[in-house]
Subunit: 346 residues, 2 copies
Amino acid sequence: MAEPISERSRKILEAIIEEHIATAQPIGSKALTRFQAINLSPASVRNVMAELEEQGYLHSPHTSAGRVPTEKAYRYYIDSLLRVDCLDRARRDQIEQHYHRRGLQMGELLREASRTLSSVAHYTGLVMVPRLQSTVFRRIEFVKLSSRQVLAVFITRSGMIQNRLIETAEEFTAGELEQITNYLNQTMSGLSIREARALILADMAQEKALYDRLLQRASRLSAEALSESADGEVIIEGTSHLLDQPEFTDLERMKRIFRAFEQKSLLLNLLDRGLQSKGVQVIIGGETEYPELAGCSLITANYSGRRGTLGALGVIGPSRMPYSTLIPIVDYTAGMISRMLDEENE
Amino acid sequence: MAEPISERSRKILEAIIEEHIATAQPIGSKALTRFQAINLSPASVRNVMAELEEQGYLHSPHTSAGRVPTEKAYRYYIDSLLRVDCLDRARRDQIEQHYHRRGLQMGELLREASRTLSSVAHYTGLVMVPRLQSTVFRRIEFVKLSSRQVLAVFITRSGMIQNRLIETAEEFTAGELEQITNYLNQTMSGLSIREARALILADMAQEKALYDRLLQRASRLSAEALSESADGEVIIEGTSHLLDQPEFTDLERMKRIFRAFEQKSLLLNLLDRGLQSKGVQVIIGGETEYPELAGCSLITANYSGRRGTLGALGVIGPSRMPYSTLIPIVDYTAGMISRMLDEENE
DNA sequence: CTTTGGCACTCCGCATAGTCGAGTGCCAAG
DNA sequence: CTTGGCACTCGACTATGCGGAGTGCCAAAG
């Protein structure tokens, strides 16, 4: 089943895939010899195609139609055959242009990134907002709102600002809050939120806290402030581009995709998964556990600030997508965002 | 053209509209007498229908099809014929259930509202996030981030929290910032952001500011902090419900709608427009200046906090929508949100 | 004067049938 | 191994015909 492929088969498979990406049609042997630089007769091509079909790289919708690449074929194409284009000047300018305005806040920057991706690529853009927990603590501030309400404002190194409203069991005076603020800012600087929280929890358990009432209350407040929140957001832009795909005639399938968009956790999982690795990744829908994404692919890349990976972004569309032009777009955008997040917070 | 309509015509028009809402099909005279309680012969109905068509309430897709209500008909139906159902117990429970969790921040609450609308109504939910400018100032806080960066955090009466990063021309010391904070919190409490800003600008022009250097800089800082931002956000949820509508077979039309969704400013304008009025409003797409919304309708209602209207929410879908069941849903949701925003900020 | 049944007509939707083209598998010859 | 040839398949498209639902109009009944 997974036999290696001869040089010739590979060429033909590549040609079929590229032709199908371009036309969205099943490809026949004759058409292939006509449009692609293959100096073989249709009959020979047929033989190869039959073989490729047996190996699971191709599939016929019905007897007398051409053949269509399977997901296995796309996987192979992406891993072994694909030569990625260079990002052409025009497109690069087009991307740069979107970021002329300086001093965007991170949230706006990411939204803009998603929009840019979608408009340059003509596919649907995805941007995952960094998870607060793994970003690096820069500063925290407490603001007393009422007797039992305290607003916590964190700022992370990468420039994210996040608020959280805390209902406290007992009242804190403004002075106490200031003390706590100072203490936290001194101890936590440079740690990730997750580490900071662990540290505080450790403190709480320690003996000294037992005797220092203020410290105890402070710890409780900050633990609350830094507690895991259900964050995890994905910014999706340009869904309407999907409607332009010829695949859209399959209404049922498109409905599934749109439902997947609404269930953002699904996309979040996929984007999360790539956070470990570096560079551009391609996820083919059918390879995931999500039936909603059958026939779809994602191209993703991570972006990072000064202190390591922050999140991921990319595009999504039918598996039949022009990987060679989209990959550099995603790649370039990720690099661009990384650079901008760096600059903004010297 | 705009002749008044006889009792009988009205009944028939109503029957046609309701039948068409239920079936999405053009309605013929015979079918009408069969399915609706009308004790007239098809021939008589035909006469009336011809008349209604002439008056612009009906339209035949072609000679031998039934008739379809025009936008004028929907308008008349909504304004004069519609009797709104009571919200049934089941649906009310369904809505309430979504808001069990207490202590949501406003942003989350509104997102949840949009989701609820969409899932209860089976249409696409819209919620406009309140415009910061018209909300009532409760508190402002400045946090110094670096020598030239100050973070401003506003809190409004209704519980919105908004951050803004300000690049300052010159450095402020922590003490100065505190002074400014105190000054602003004293003077601005109870004003809307817009009013507050106006007041500051007035201050700046006054003579005393010219001689008080700190005050002058403070004013500049706060003017910056309160400046008009491009806010105005619409939370859209449940777009996939549109795909279930039989109207969806008209692909072109659906593409237009999805594009409209991406251009949020368009929806924002429409929601804005209703902010003056009270109660539930229905906007019929063709009546607006937006060709994208041809064939669509919005049902909207305002929600408010303690201190007046904050924003609007509603559902959007094809004009052929079950107004009588959707209106109470939108109405109830708006009321619910208003109540929750009140409670949260004693 | 309104209502109603009748009638001729229109036109869409659907099903059936036929044709065309692209593609296939297989085989035998190069 | 490659290639040309050949018979076969099957979907896409077109043409044709039919039935149903609807229409307008008219004349008779209420």
